[in-house]
């Protein structure tokens, strides 16, 4: 039981995909202009991660070794496209904001990485938990980064404007702020890990 719980929680700090493993940098930087956007991108990736992990763990035993990468990519791309349809139909606003980065989940190294390293060798249930754990870790870091950038850049949090404040430091909403913010968050993370 304990190990199952560990599957889920390891993505938060120890194997955090963003701060420790440095995976999936592109969506991390591009979509975290606000906490909500970061959260949505995280959840979208989580959705694909869990489903593709499960599917890949189911088919892995019958896939010939030499073609396993293309097969995994096709499976992942299928779930990504599925997600695109669902988002277009039911959450068009978020779909428009995240734009290109939804189809780009296909080439997010986290998804293929988990398929290769975990799902292809474990049971469907464990793979689902692993996808959930890594996905939650990713979502958490994106939300934190989005929240920090939103507070600094537009002085609001989850779209709620901090009363009595002005415009904020625009640079943090734009491209340079993404890099700088993530850099400093990593510094804090490193300090915290070093202390432990």
């Amino acid at each position: 039981m304990n190990s199952k719980l560990q599957l889920i929680t390891k993505g938060f700090v120890k194997d955090n995909p963003t701060f420790v493993l440095l995976l999936g940098m592109c969506p991390t930087l591009a979509t975290t202009t606000s906490a909500i956007n970061g959260l949505s991108m995280g959840l979208a990736t989580l959705f694909v991660l869990v489903l593709s992990n499960m599917a890949i763990s189911a088919i892995a035993p019958v896939v010939p070794d030499k073609v396993h990468i293309p097969v995994y990519i096709v499976v992942i791309a299928t779930f990504v496209t599925l997600l695109q349809f669902l988002m277009q139909a039911y959450t068009p606003g978020i779909y428009a904001t995240l734009g290109l980065f939804i189809p780009l989940i296909v080439v997010n190294c986290i998804v293929l990485g988990r398929a290769e390293a975990f799902a292809s060798k474990h049971s469907i249930g464990d793979s689902a938990l692993d996808g959930l754990g890594v996905g939650l870790g990713f979502t958490l870091s994106l939300t934190v980064l989005g929240a920090v950038r939103e507070i600094l850049g537009s002085l609001s949090i989850f779209g709620w404007k901090i009363p009595g404040t002005g415009d904020g430091m625009l640079a943090f909403v734009m491209a340079p702020g993404a890099f700088i913010c993530l850099g400093y968050l990593m510094v804090l993370f490193n300090k915290y890990l070093a202390k432990k």
Binding site: T33, I59, A60, P61, V62, V63, P64, D65, K66, V67, H68, P70, V71, V74, V75, A77, T78, T81, L82, F85, L86, Q88, A89, Y90, P92, S120, K121, G153, S154, D167, G168, L170, V173, M174
Partner: protein, 203 residues
């Protein structure tokens, strides 16, 4: 672990995967096509409705040349008479295309405007969708009274602070929409006029 690879099972496996995945996607596509179309229609309805007066019947999208490029518009009619038009107007803003929906009443006044899509700088030009002062001045604006240029260029439009290029582009988009409606000829019998030819005559 994995199965030993040989040409037959590799081809078979790839082929089956592609087939199954395509089939799944085709199925989901067929299922979600209707909701997606509905959502898109709803979004359009909202953007068109926001720039037009209430009441009356909205037409389907019709072709119209706005600012020298193909675009579209919608007619709001009441009791068989054209009441207002919603014109989609695209110009080049600071960061890329700026697409507006401009509501123009039959007597040639602007009823309201809204931004359909833009790529302006967040916090600067992007304020054209949030700056209340800037947005309010388009509401029921009469081009016969106000000069459609930003104040820097000798007009009556208050630009967004530090975003003159976006404000100029926005103003041009509205002007293009008004001109396009004018180009349709007698607005009250607009339905009988062929917009494209009229535009060419004007030029």
């Amino acid at each position: 672990m994995a199965v030993q690879s040989n040409l037959k099972n590799m081809v078979l496996c790839l082929f089956t995967t592609c087939l199954v995945c395509s089939a799944v996607l085709a199925g989901v596509y067929a299922l979600t096509a209707a909701p997606i179309a509905q959502t898109n229609a709803q979004l359009l309805q909202q953007s068109v409705g926001a720039v037009l007066p209430e009441g009356g019947e909205l037409s389907e999208a019709k072709d119209l040349e706005v600012g020298g490029q193909p675009s579209e518009y919608y007619i709001l009619s009441e009791n068989g008479q054209d009441k207002a038009y919603a014109v989609k107007s695209t110009v080049v803003g600071f960061g890329g295309p700026l697409v507006l929906m401009v509501g123009v009443t039959a007597d040639g006044k602007v009823y309201n405007t809204s931004v359909l899509s833009h790529t302006e700088t967040p916090g600067l030009g992007a304020k054209c969708t949030t700056d209340e002062g800037f947005m309010a001045q388009w509401k029921e604006l009469d081009p016969a009274v106000k000069i459609l240029k930003v104040k820097k260029d000798g007009g009556d439009i208050d630009a967004i602070t530090a975003s003159t290029i976006t404000s100029r582009a926005y103003t041009l988009a509205v002007q293009n929409a008004i001109d396009a409606v004018k180009g349709m000829g007698d607005a009250s019998t607009g339905a009988s006029v062929k917009p494209k030819e009229e535009m060419e005559n004007e030029q």
